[in-house]
C-alpha cells in the first residue's frame, strides 16, 4: 500500500495541510479548500494535457504561450461582441490547432518535441504581440458575461472548478477506456512493441499534442476571464509549473507510466503550496524555487524506484558475452 506513489503523494499533501492547519486552522476550512481547488484548476487542466504528451515520450513547453494566445483571441472576440459559446468553441479549436502544429512537426518531420515546443513557445507569444502591438485588454473592455462565466456559482463551486472536475473525469475515462488513451501508454512504454501491435507512434503523439493544445486553449479563456486582463506575458513561465505538476505526480518523463490521480495530486500539491505561502507569511518570490526543488525531489524519488536497473542490464550482458 505504502509502495504506491499515489498513496505517498496523498500522505504528503495531508501532511502539508496538517502543518499549515496547525498554525492557521482557517486554511483547511472547506470554503478555503474549495477556493484553493478553484485557483489550481488551470494547472490541473493543463497538467492533464501535458500528461498525455509526456506519456508518449514527448514534452510540450508551448502550453503557457498557447494559453496566452488563445486567451488574447478570446478577449479580442469578446471585444467584437461574439457570443460566449462561439468564443469557447473558437478557443478550443484554436488551441487544438496550435497543438496540432507541434504534433505535425513531431510526427511528420520527426523533430524532437523539446526543440519544436521551445520554438513554438516563443513564436506563439510573439504572435500575441503582433496581434495587439503589446497593448493590454483590461477588465472594462470585457463584457460582464465574459468575465462572470468562470466565477458563476453552481452547486457551491464556481464553474471553473466544475470544468476542471469534468476534465479530470473525462480524462480518467479517456486514458483507461479508449483505444487512443491506452495507445498513449503503449507508445511511451515501448514504441517498437507499439508498432508491432498496430499502434501508430507518430499519430498518437500528434493527438496527444492536439489534446494538450485544446486544453490550453480552453484554459486561455478561463484565465483571461477570471483575472479579467489579457496581455502578452500572461501565464509567463507557467509551462514549468505544468511540467512540475506532472513530474511531482509521478508521470515518468521517459514516457509510458503515470496516473490521472497522481497528476491531479501533483497539481494540487503545487496549488496548496502557492496558496499557503502568503498565509504563512512567506514571500511569494519563494514559489519558483520551491517548485524547482519539488521537481528535483520528485524525479530523484521516481528514479529511486528504478535504481537497480542499470546494474542488472550490465550483468545480463556479461552473462551473454
Amino acid at each position: 500500500m505504502l509502495k504506491s506513489r499515489e498513496t505517498i503523494l496523498a500522505l504528503a499533501i495531508l501532511a502539508l495541510l496538517a502543518v499549515i492547519a496547525a498554525r492557521f486552522p482557517a486554511f483547511v476550512l472547506p470554503a478555503n479548500l474549495a477556493a484553493v481547488f478553484t485557483d489550481t484548476s488551470p494547472l490541473i487542466i493543463l497538467a492533464l494535457g501535458q500528461m498525455a504528451v509526456i506519456l508518449t515520450k514527448c514534452i510540450d513547453l508551448s502550453v503557457a504561450a498557447n494559453l496566452a494566445l488563445c486567451g488574447m483571441i478570446a478577449a479580442m472576440m469578446n471585444g467584437a461582441a461574439v457570443p460566449l459559446p462561439v468564443i469557447l468553441l473558437a478557443v478550443l479549436a484554436l488551441g487544438a490547432a496550435l497543438g496540432a502544429v507541434n504534433g505535425m512537426l513531431v510526427w511528420k518531420l520527426g523533430i524532437p518535441s523539446i526543440v519544436v515546443t521551445l520554438g513554438t513557445m516563443t513564436i506563439y507569444r510573439g504572435v500575441i504581440f503582433l496581434l495587439t502591438d503589446g497593448k493590454w485588454i483590461n477588465a472594462h473592455q470585457m463584457s460582464e458575461g465574459f468575465k462572470a462565466f468562470p466565477r458563476a456559482q453552481f452547486l457551491g463551486l464556481p464553474v471553473m472548478a466544475w470544468i476542471a472536475l469534468a476534465v479530470v473525469a473525462g480524462f480518467a475515462l479517456f486514458v483507461s477506456r479508449t483505444p487512443l488513451g491506452r495507445a498513449l501508454f503503449a507508445v511511451g512504454g515501448n514504441p517498437h512493441a507499439a508498432v508491432y501491435t498496430g499502434i501508430h507512434v507518430g499519430k498518437t503523439q500528434f493527438w496527444a499534442f492536439t489534446l494538450s493544445g485544446a486544453l490550453a486553449g480552453l484554459t486561455g479563456y478561463l484565465w483571461v476571464a477570471r483575472y479579467a486582463v489579457a496581455y502578452v506575458d500572461i501565464a509567463g513561465g507557467f509551462e514549468l509549473d505544468v511540467v512540475a505538476a506532472c513530474v511531482i505526480g509521478g508521470i515518468a518523463i521517459a514516457g509510458g507510466a503515470g496516473s490521472v490521480a497522481g497528476c491531479v495530486m501533483g497539481a494540487l500539491f503545487l496549488g496548496i503550496v502557492k496558496n499557503a505561502l502568503p498565509v504563512v507569511g512567506i514571500s511569494p518570490f519563494w514559489q519558483m524555487a520551491i517548485s524547482g526543488s519539488a521537481i528535483l525531489i520528485a524525479i530523484a524519488f521516481n528514479a529511486r524506484h528504478q535504481g537497480a536497473k542499470g546494474r542488472i542490464i550490465l550483468k545480463h550482458a556479461e552473462v551473454r558475452a
Partner: protein
C-alpha cells in the same frame, strides 16, 4: 522511417575540399556573408568598425555558453538552466558587491557560482542517472527562484568602476574584451572538441553511450565535466552581462537558453547527439548576431526577433528533413 531500400554506397571518399565546400558550415558561412552584405546595403552606418564592434555584444555572451552547450548536446544531453545560472551568479556577485567585495572577488564568486550550479546539474544527471531535460527544467526554476528569493522585485546596482571593464572595456581599438574572449574561447573549445581525447569521447558518448561504457569510457565522468564546463561558461557570461548592464535583476538573461540552443542547432549540431562542430557554432553565432543587429537597425522590436529566433530553431531542423522527404 528510414527505409532499407537500395542505397548508393560510394567506393571512395569525397576529397576533403569537396567535403568542406558541401558542408553545413560552408552553407552557413554563405548565409552569414549574405546577411552581412544585406545589412551594409540596408544601413549606411553598418560598416563602421565601432558599429560592428557594438553588434558583437549581441552574441558574444550567448556564444560563450553555446560552445559548452554544443559539447553537451553532442554528448546527448542538454542544459536548459543556463539562463538561470546567469541570474544566480549575477545575484551572488551583486550581494557580494553590496558587502564590499573587491572586483577580483566578484569575478571569483561569479565563476565559483557557475561551477557550483554546473556541478549540481552534473551530480543529478551523471551521479544519479536522471534525465537531463527534467533535471535542468527543475534547476532552471530553482536557480532563478533563489535569485527571486534574494532580490524579490529589487535590483543590485552600483558595481565598482573596475568591474565595468569585462562588459564595456576594450582590449585594443574596437576589439572589446568580450569579443577577444569569444575568439579565445572559440579556439580553446575547437581544440578541446576536435583535437583532444576528451573531445573524441564526447562524440563516442553521443553516438552510443552504452557502447562507450563497454569500451571503458567513464561516461558519467565525461558528462559531469561537460555540465561543469557549461556552468563555468554561464558564470563567465554572467560576469560579462552583469558588467555590461551594470545591474542585477532576478529576470536577467530571461530566454537566453532558447537563443543558446538555437545557436547550437543552427550551427549544425545534431539535437539527438553525436555530431556537430565548434566552427559551425561560431558561424551560427555570427549569423544570429548579424540577424538580430540588422533587425535592430530596422527598428524591429525584440519580441518579433524572438519569433524569428524560434522559427529559425524549427526551420533549421525542418527544412533539411522536408527537402529529404520531397526528393524521395
Amino acid at each position: 522511417m528510414t527505409s532499407l531500400s537500395t542505397r548508393h554506397i560510394p567506393d571512395r571518399l569525397q576529397s576533403p575540399m569537396t567535403r568542406a565546400t558541401r558542408s553545413w558550415e560552408a552553407l552557413l558561412l554563405l548565409v552569414a556573408i549574405a546577411i552581412f552584405i544585406a545589412n551594409s546595403l540596408a544601413s549606411p552606418y553598418f560598416l563602421d568598425p565601432w558599429n560592428l564592434s557594438d553588434a558583437s555584444f549581441n552574441f558574444t555572451e550567448k556564444a560563450l555558453i553555446a560552445f559548452a552547450m554544443a559539447m553537451l548536446v553532442i554528448a546527448g544531453e542538454i542544459d536548459l538552466s543556463v539562463a538561470s545560472i546567469i541570474a544566480l551568479c549575477s545575484t551572488v556577485m551583486g550581494a557580494a558587491m553590496m558587502a564590499g567585495v573587491p572586483v577580483w572577488g566578484l569575478v571569483a564568486l561569479g565563476l565559483g557560482t557557475g561551477l557550483a550550479c554546473g556541478a549540481f546539474n552534473g551530480l543529478l544527471v551523471a551521479g544519479f542517472g536522471l534525465p537531463s531535460i527534467v533535471v535542468t527544467i527543475g534547476t532552471m526554476s530553482l536557480f532563478r527562484g533563489l535569485s527571486f528569493i534574494a532580490l524579490g522585485d529589487g535590483a543590485y546596482t552600483g558595481y565598482p568602476a573596475g568591474f565595468a571593464w569585462f562588459g564595456q572595456g576594450y582590449v585594443w581599438w574596437v576589439f572589446s574584451f568580450e569579443l577577444v574572449l569569444f575568439v579565445v574561447m572559440a579556439l580553446l573549445f575547437s581544440i578541446l572538441l576536435h583535437r583532444t581525447n576528451f573531445g573524441r569521447l564526447v562524440y563516442v558518448i553521443g553516438n552510443n553511450a552504452t557502447a562507450a561504457r563497454f569500451s571503458g569510457v567513464r561516461v558519467d565522468r565525461v558528462r559531469f565535466i561537460l555540465f561543469l564546463l557549461t556552468g563555468l561558461m554561464s558564470g563567465i557570461a554572467a560576469i560579462c552581462l552583469t558588467s555590461r548592464l551594470g545591474s542585477t535583476r532576478p529576470s536577467i538573461a530571461t530566454g537566453f537558453e532558447l537563443e543558446v540552443v538555437t545557436m547550437v542547432v543552427l550551427g549544425g549540431v545534431s539535437i539527438l547527439g553525436g555530431s556537430g562542430s565548434i566552427p559551425g557554432v561560431v558561424i551560427a553565432a555570427l549569423v544570429m548576431g548579424l540577424v538580430t543587429f540588422g533587425l535592430g537597425l530596422l527598428n524591429v522590436p525584440g519580441i518579433v526577433m524572438s519569433i524569428i529566433v524560434g522559427a529559425l530553431l524549427i526551420g533549421v531542423i525542418a527544412l533539411p528533413r522536408l527537402w529529404a522527404m520531397w526528393r524521395r
